[in-house]
């Protein structure tokens, strides 16, 4: 359309200027080309991974035959699921606490709640390592209890993000709705469940997806809390990447990228859905 549009370029129409288009194109190329190469070459029928030798699914087959990799993926999804579940409860409660009450040292507590977001990952990983080592946290329990240390660490850095998102949502809540419910005889719990919770729902969903992705993605903190029997997907990919560049790693990465795209699409769709029903 814009190619056919021959009207002169207005001063602020930067996107129609050639140098700007070149700049954007180059940046997007820089951002996407490595990822596309990675995905395309996961289908390449060659071990050396540089010249195209024909289409194959065999490296995907190899990923699923690789038991430790599959187990690692299972661990990652389990941890992400559990961490998300606990994070939305803790995060929502913290958001309601900050939104609703006045209490002593509030600014300090608010700051402390946002600390896990800003602390460098390496410092948090180290703290978790020291903490679980000092407590002699058992690492040889049955699945999924052996994942408890990693899950606890993930909840700690995920729930403040949920708090942040839900709190932003609460800012748009009309308190008169709550007062009306109370006037009409609803108990404190009923008001929370039937008035406040439905209002927070889009925030909670967005927070949950954020927590799930953060947990699934985390490498550094997991690296310090995982034992020999509790490998997660990023930790496993890390050890494979250190070892060599193989099509199998490409295939595993492509699968994770696919999962991320699905999750993002679901998130966008859900947001549209909640917007439409709100």
């Amino acid at each position: 359309m814009s190619l056919l549009n021959r009207s002169p370029i207005a001063p602020l129409e930067y996107t129609r200027r050639l140098w700007m288009r070149a700049w954007i194109g180059a940046t997007l190329f820089f951002l996407y080309a490595p990822l596309l190469v990675l995905i395309v070459f996961s289908f390449n029928d060659s071990k050396r991974n540089i010249v195209w030798r024909g289409f194959t699914f065999k490296y995907y087959g190899k990923v699923f035959e690789n038991d430790t990799l599959v187990a690692a993926l299972g661990n990652s999804l389990t941890i992400a699921f559990l961490a998300t579940l606990v994070s939305i409860v803790l995060g929502t409660l913290a958001a309601v606490m900050l939104w609703r009450f006045r209490f002593p040292a509030k600014a300090g507590i608010e700051g402390a709640l946002s600390l896990p977001i800003v602390v460098p990952e390496i410092c948090m990983g180290v703290a978790m390592l020291v903490f679980f080592a000092r407590l002699d946290w058992p690492s040889d329990l049955v699945w999924p209890l052996n994942l408890s240390a990693i899950t606890i660490a993930h909840i700690t850095f995920c729930f403040p993000f949920v708090t942040m998102v839900v709190r932003a949502r609460l800012a748009s809540f009309n308190k008169e709705q709550e007062e009306a419910a109370r006037d009409l005889g609803a108990s404190e719990w009923q008001t929370f469940r039937d008035v406040l919770l439905p209002h927070m729902k889009p925030g909670i969903i967005a927070g949950a997806l954020l927590a799930f992705t953060l947990s699934l993605d985390d490498f550094v903190i997991t690296f310090f809390t995982s034992g020999p029997n509790t490998i997660t997907f990023p930790v496993k990919v890390y050890s494979m990447v250190r070892f060599s560049v193989t099509p199998e790693v490409n295939a595993a990465s492509a699968l994770l990228i696919l999962l991320t795209i699905i999750l993002t699409t679901v998130a966008l769709k859900l947001q549209d859905f909640t917007k439409a029903t709100a």
Partner: protein
Amino acid sequence: MQDWKGHKTAFAAIAAAPMAWLIGFFIIPLAMVWLYSFGRNIGLTEIDISGTFANYARALEPLYLEIFGKSVAVAALTTLICLIIGFPIALAITFAPEKWRPWMLLAIMLPFWTNLLIRTYALITVLRTNGYVNMSLGWFWEQASGLKVLVGLAPLPTWEPLPLLYNNFAVVLGLVYVHLPFMVLPLYAALDRLDKSLIEASLDLGAGHFRTITQIVAPLAGAGIISGVIITFVPALGAYLTPDLMGGPDSQMIANVIERQFKRANDWPFGAALSFLLMYATFMLIALQALRTRKAEARR
């Protein structure tokens, strides 16, 4: 807002779980690291918290000061490059037609949602000795060489692949690749709030685009630019994965040194001191930013 004293049961029911979690699984672990930073190793696993400052003194030795300085320099360079790349992008998104804007933002954000490890690995596969960058450069080199033969000149010497990986260049490139979205989003948020008529006025009155950007846009969006700089600089300073996978023996950053103290070197007290120094640096930057925004709000 309600006072907690009037609603003690409700307050306790809401606050107990998140506060307990925060204290039990965050404050206490951090406090343990803090205490260890004043201790010393006795035996293989035993640590005596003696209140010594020896670990902090050791962190000030030239070797570690140099690594600190290098981490700051690498993070600063990364931030600067992100700003140079990201500013025109943010500007373009701001002035793009309404229906394109969400898609352009999504295009910048999507790589950000992809696993950090996978993005780093993707960059390694294209940069390695027989990766695509070197292969394309080699191809151009051969063509140029062939062209010279064609016009009767001596051919170029044989192509030597560039060392694009396992050095400081690779670390900065990798950090820019990973942190670019961190820069674009706050810049966009700041530019979007600008009063566009001021820019139009400046252009109408004869200032060029460059002059308008440096003298009108940059001062007005100053707060947003600074928050973008801090949001990019802080994670780049504490980066572990990029220097670990893409750096060479001389591109260790502070996070890699911390990791080594806790794993191979097994010197927890010293590692604890280093990680608290990194944390103090982070907090200082964030406090600075908070102070600035508070001042800006007070002025309004």
